[in-house]
Amino acid sequence: MGAVDEQTLKGIKNKQKRQQLYAQLKHEHNKTRHKDRQARAREERENPEMKEKRLAENVPETIDSKRVYDETTNVDMEGEDNFDSYFKEGKEPKVLVTTNANAKKSAYEFAAMMVEIIPNTSFVKRQRKYTIKDMAEYCSNRDFTDLIVINEDKKVVNGITFVHLPEGPTFYFSITSLIERKKITGHGQPTGHVPELVLNNFTTRLGQSVARLFQSLFPHRPEFEGRQVVTLHNQRDYIFFRMHRYVFRNEEKVGLQELGPQFTLKLRRIQKGIRQDIDWEYKTELEKDKRRFYL
């Protein structure tokens, strides 16, 4: 049988035959595609300006590039907020980590990681009789600036609450795609140094408040001799947590070693005070427009 085209393919009534021919068609198509690419690469190797021209002409359209206009992007912060004690008065953060009541192993493991990552943190086992409001009160009496509550359900860590003390606000994020350190190949071990913090893409007014929360968890002065970086990268309202150690190999090359863990946060709710009136809440209808992002 000779060359097949899509029209003849439609006329074939035997499904198996049709599938076979379709696979053949696809294979041929792929082959020509690869050949074309090779030829183009060869051509472009000889005169690189062609490549530049092609790349300039064919900018792919992504959801990010088609993002809906938001007038709150890159606006100046106005007025005062509850993080002023960190940013203006320079108060050192002091963090308490705890879990949900009756937590299982995974929650404790995650808590141990958080204690390792965030400096000046202590862990306290959760007691069922204390609510978040009670804990917030005890913590603010003991000069803590933040309370972190890790939530675990069916032995999977699925949420994290940040309560800024003494007067809120409260942030709740869901956690997905958690990969522990030992599952990452070639991972290193973090040291006790204060890491540097990289906050990517928090542009809107809401994003700024989230960024301020993460900033206020880490002391002002990173210890550069530790060469550790915590990255919180926001893309399409998902916040990716990564931790690395860098090394300057020579004047041009920089090496990165992942320290782990990896996980993804998604903002679900911001509440005023300690879990009081809602300032912002994720609802499914907010995602009706695929190209609208809030952080």
């Binding site: 206009y69 007038e71 007025g79 005062e80 009136d277 809602i278 300032d279 912002w280 809440e281």
Partner: protein, 430 residues
């Protein structure tokens, strides 16, 4: 501090100002002028309530640090090539203009706010007799006989409260002769209506407020559990009188309760108006219906006789702190999402949406000088002097006209689309 927002030019008639749309060729400069007034205040002295007085046009505010202030709005006439549409307030501080002049001020009415047990203002209103009334959560009521008297010492009453009772909602009876009749309620403080002694008498001899109506709680639930009381907002019915009280109470749990003093002390009905049992923050009358907002971003119009939901005003995220009714035709909202919105009452269309930078506590529409007719005239005869002080009755008609022409346009567009599509289909078939 205040923000004056004036959508100076409108992109399209029938479409107000939206700062959330970029300015481009299709919709040229959506100039929205936002000016800031009464700057220099911090969060400790943020505005809690704001009232636009119908009699004098002044703006009265109460602040967290126990100050009551009156601002003169007479300089806000659209002389500065800007039509002032609304005043909006919030916390923070920047700005330079001094169009809003502070005319009267009363400091130290209550001690400044320290913690959650401190005394704070819960409501500020101008009653139908022109008196300024301020109430606090500890049950103190301060009354001035007029805005110009605010510099003087007010008459103070103490509402009858039991121990540990807190007032969260306060309302004065409508009608010029009934203003001494006030209702209040709060957390575990069931609705009470008291008659305050009149101001003239009080100056001579101290009178005490007398309770004229005390509500009873609902019957126990089917499981014989007590129904909690937590009144967040009170509204009097239009037909209410001191002898025959009709009151709507809105609760923390999303209920609307209707009390009728002629028929008994228990609520006549209690309906869940918000499906999620969210806390009701504010409620106002709008064209004979009630508009209720909660702390999760829901603003709904509710039928007062049945409590059933008529329609929704969509687009809010988070708590809506304030609502304002402008001549029963426009609803203004603002809250923690840092936007001020205005909706057309009939079409429920969002006609104005403006980003204001900070979260706001109160909103009031001052005027809509740029009437629809005006805008149209300017469009056709550029340079024509703007007629000031458009009569307001006029506006309604003009708006309807505009809408119908809009509708026509829409229909034309739709029809042309349909015919085009049909043509295309016919071609495809051929």
């Amino acid at each position: 501090m205040f923000r004056l927002i004036s959508p100076a030019t409108f992109a399209k008639p029938g479409f107000g100002a939206h700062t959330s749309k970029p300015a481009d060729d299709a919709s040229p400069a959506q100039a929205v002028s936002i000016t800031t007034h009464a700057e220099g205040n911090t969060r400790r002295s943020k505005v809690l309530q704001l009232v636009h007085s119908k009699q004098t046009g002044n703006v009265i505010v109460s602040r967290l640090n126990g100050v009551v202030e009156v601002y003169d709005t007479s300089k806000l006439e659209p002389a500065a090539e800007q039509a002032k549409d609304r005043v909006e307030e919030d916390k923070g501080s920047t700005g330079t203009l001094d169009l809003l002049q502070l005319v009267y001020e009363h400091k130290g009415l209550i001690p400044p706010f320290e913690n959650k047990d401190s005394e704070t203002f819960i409501d500020l209103l101008v009653d139908d007799a022109g008196r300024v009334v301020v109430a606090t959560n500890k049950g103190s009521v301060f009354i001035w006989s007029g805005e110009d008297k605010i510099n003087n010492e007010p008459v103070k009453f103490t509402l009858p409260l039991n121990e540990n009772e807190i007032v969260e909602s306060f309302q004065v009876h409508p009608g010029k002769e009934n203003v001494n009749c006030v209702a209040y309620g709060g957390k575990e403080t069931d609705l009470r209506v008291v008659k305050l002694p009149s101001l003239e008498k009080t100056k001579k001899q101290k009178g005490q407020p007398a309770i004229i109506f005390k509500a009873k709680n609902l019957s126990n639930s089917r499981l014989e559990l007590r129904v909690p009381i937590h009144i967040k907002k009170l509204l009097f019915d239009k037909t209410s009188s001191p002898n025959h009280l009709k009151i709507y109470a809105f609760t923390q749990w999303g209920d609307m309760r209707f009390y009728d003093s002629a028929l008994g002390r228990k609520p006549r009905f209690s309906v869940l108006v918000l499906p999620k049992k969210a806390s009701i923050i504010h409620a106002i009358w709008l064209d004979g219906k009630l508009v209720v907002c909660d702390n999760t971003g829901i603003v709904v119009k509710v039928d007062p006789s049945s409590g059933s939901q008529i329609s929704k005003f969509k687009g809010h995220i988070g708590t809506t702190h304030a609502l304002d009714n402008f001549q029963d035709s426009i609803l203004a909202t603002t809250g923690s999402d840092r936007y001020v919105r205005a909706y057309d009452n009939e079409t429920r269309e969002c006609i104005v949406k403006v980003f204001v930078g900070t979260q706001s506590n109160a909103v009031a529409i001052m005027e809509d000088t740029e009437s629809w007719q005006d805008r149209r005239r300017r469009k056709y005869t550029p340079g024509a002097s703007r007629e000031e002080g458009m009569t307001r009755a006029n506006n309604g008609e003009q708006r309807e006209e505009e809408e119908s022409s809009d509708e026509e346009e829409l229909w034309n567009k739709l029809e042309s689309n349909i015919t085009q599509r049909r043509k295309r289909r016919r071609l495809a078939l051929a």
